[in-house]
Amino acid sequence: MPQLPDALEHGPPETREVFRKVAASRGFVSNLLRSLGHAPEGLNRFMSLGHYARYGTELTEMQRELVVCIIGRNIAYAWAHHAPMAIQAGLSESQMAELKSGRTPSGLAETERALCDFAFGFSTLKGVPAEAWAALKRHFTPRQCTDIALLAAYFLAAGSLIIGMELETEPPEVLAQEVAWQAKPRDASGQVQSVPNKAI
């Protein structure tokens, strides 16, 4: 399995401070972001883009998780992290099963259906059909359309890292903490006020 030495132990001293910033944003340091620890400034900026994707867009929780789960539907690590958040946002188990099999889930509102059709088109890397674009623009503002594209693009980049580095999924208790963290109230910048004093 591709693996680099532990960045906290063998990386530069700046890594520890950036891991603290990651924990302040996400509640913990995932194996995904930990894998970038040898380049702390690169991690800092990658993490900041992810912070925007998670907490800065003009999308609802459900809309965001629909996009993330569609992009990551064939990546076990991504699914393990985001399927529980999608369910927390209101999707049912059967809707998640449809989504995982590559179909827009039944029972969604027209707005969310348009979003799913767009995200499935995005994930092909072959272009989004004109009808899907037209439906998206009927239901979302240009800002929201941009957020959807940016979110999908960021999670494709994250997916490439997961696949390339064969990242292991964290234990269930860590995933549960992440789901709880996602539901916490935040300030305008997306930060939770109380940052855990847990190990990074």
Binding site: L4, A39, L161
Partner: protein, 189 residues
């Protein structure tokens, strides 16, 4: 482009994001304009892109190898980075090889290892163990991490270019960006 162009005159936040990009690249390219309706998201993209261009621990040639391999098949990426690859020392024959997904002949051992790795990494199908082992024998963990960040960033950009149907910038704009990169852009993160 699928969305109307955002007007920076209507948004100080967008004007600031464009200014930051112009400061490190000389022009505001069409792909950055495609994110213009979400200025805070654009700023985060600009910051990460600046790191990829100017903050990594890779040579100019190594960076362009990563970008050209990740962006091959995407006209926009090739239009912008083929000249930068040439500027970094790649020959026409080497560029042709990259364009069709082959490792160019005549590269050093380390640059060949980078090409093998990025071809596998950007396929999204996993990296064979021998390819990764060779890379770790030749590069520091920091450099391998930089390769992952750069390839991921350009996959992010390329996927958005495809979905948003972003047109390549006119050649004079592209050439201005290439010249800026050579003369003034380095050292800016």
């Amino acid at each position: 482009m699928r969305l109307p162009e955002a007007d920076p005159a209507q948004s100080p936040e967008l004007e600031a994001a464009y200014a930051a990009f112009r400061d490190t690249r000389g022009v505001v390219s069409n792909v950055m304009k495609s994110f213009g309706h979400a200025p805070a998201g654009l700023s985060a993209i600009v910051e990460l892109g600046s790191y990829c261009r100017f903050g990594s621990d890779l040579t100019e040639l190594q960076k362009e190898l990563v970008i050209l391999i990740t962006g091959r098949g995407v006209a926009y990426a090739w239009h912008h980075h083929e000249p930068l690859g040439r500027q970094a020392g790649l020959t026409e024959a080497q560029l042709e090889a990259l364009c069709v997904g082959r490792v160019p002949e005549g590269l050093s051992e380390v640059d060949t290892a980078i090409c093998d790795y990025v071809l596998a990494y950007s396929s999204l199908k996993g990296v064979p163990e021998p390819v990764f082992a060779r890379l770790t024998a030749l590069l520091a963990p920091r450099q391998i991490t930089d390769i992952n960040i750069i390839s991921g960033y350009y996959l992010c950009i390329a996927s958005s270019v495809i979905a948003m149907e972003v047109r390549p910038d006119p050649t004079p704009v592209r050439d201005a960006a290439t010249g800026f990169h050579q003369n003034a852009g380095r050292g800016r993160t």
